[in-house]
Symmetry: C2
Subunit: 220 residues, 2 copies
DNA sequence: CGCTGGCTTTGATCCGGGTCAAAACGGCCC
DNA sequence: GGGCCGTTTTGACCCGGATCAAAGCCAGCG
């Protein structure tokens, strides 16, 4: 009944706009990471920029007492690990088994210095990250648990190019730490959305959006 | 007893690093805005980038039902209104009477195309905004009301170059909408910080940090 | 297959911060 | 100086989501 898990592999497409994919034809190293493996840690030297080729990645920070806030989820094609300073301010881990392209930061800087379109592509990536972070702020500051969960589901659908059925690559704990909630609240909210007929939960990591319109209404 | 309100006027200093201030010697228009006056609105064409010359500015978004989330406070010297797309995604208002420098976006683009240091300066501004937004996410997602208020006070102190005594240019409502709280909670939290001797509140918009160490401990 | 251990869900209760209401505090204008 | 109005503080109570606890539910493995 359920569609198989979509192979989330990144296929670069050359667009009209400045895109790093177009500029960075040279692949660079593409190591594999196992589920939950650390890709880089807070405080480490930021010598590389990364791109998800397959799988999914989470970036997060933790407070002294262990509270964790997930900053972003990264899917196939997404860049992450771009830093202003010398060191990573956040930690990155594979959420699923993942392959990740590593681009030497020096290479990127040289490219940016030589080619205006590369510099613009880097700026665009950073600015997109800022927009997503601003959306995240709005969600955490002013939205209810239900609105947050609905928003996350729609976001995952969009970013993994899923239609109605989506694979959720993250655990409930990951969802909670992204949404500023607890696992219990996330779980309860999902079941209540199911009870209202807005979604179906055929399995833990599989969600069907049954009334996308209604979900979007909560989000707007 | 109280020091007079510091004149928060921006004095550019030429640093060693790429700085837009150095590059943009040409002043451009510097209109004044009255307290609570709108500088630009969500959806408007983003033809200019702005820099606070004096006073303070808030940028925010509102949900359909009126819930407001303040994205950032901007003080003398800060740039704001940089957008990736054609339109502003957020609204900007003067929190106090303010003078604001307007820089035509085309000018900035030309400059970035011609001079690598200008392009780098713009990237840096965007990346700094991203870092602040990420800090904001961590605060909203995982910090208590008390930690949030303490963090805001320290942030204001740092960004207005205040030592122990600081002018708070924003209303309780502004603080609440930045911190993801209500006015009542902000007010209660401030008085409880005062009761514990961590701060003093000689007047509504004047705060004295009496135990900065303790405040920083809450924030870390 | 059946057992085991980690997720996830569900239940019961609690509490931090929200809501609603009223009093107190300033500014500001006359 | 006195009155007025918007902001801030304080009080009483409530509620959404957290916490604590106990079942379910698989997936993996022997």
């Amino acid at each position: 009944m359920l569609s198989p898990i979509r192979a989330q592999v990144f296929e670069p497409t050359i667009g009209l706009d400045a895109s790093l994919d177009a500029v960075l034809a040279t692949p660079g190293a593409c190591p594999r990471f196992a589920r939950d493996e650390e890709i880089f840690g807070e405080g480490e030297s930021a010598d590389y920029v990364y791109q998800v080729m397959s799988g999914a990645v989470r970036t997060y920070r933790i407070l002294r007492d262990g509270r964790r806030q997930i900053d972003e989820f990264h899917f196939a094609g997404d860049y992450f690990g771009l830093e202003l300073g010398e060191a990573h301010r956040i930690t990155a881990e594979a959420m699923t088994d993942a392959t990740v392209r590593m681009i030497r930061r020096g290479t990127l800087n040289d490219l940016a210095a030589k080619r205006g379109d590369a510099a613009r592509a880097i700026l665009r990536l950073t600015a997109e990250g800022l927009q997503r972070s601003q959306d995240h702020v709005l969600m955490l500051g002013r939205r209810s648990a239900c609105e947050r969960v609905a928003g996350l589901l729609l976001d995952i659908a969009e970013r993994t190019h899923a239609k109605a059925e989506l694979d959720v690559p993250m655990s409930r704990q990951d969802m909670a730490d992204y949404l500023g909630l607890t696992i219990e609240t996330v779980s309860r909210t999902l079941t209540s959305l199911q009870d209202e007929g807005l979604i179906a939960l055929p399995s833990v990591r599989h969600v069907v959006l049954q009334d996308r319109r209604a979900l979007e209404r909560m989000t707007a």
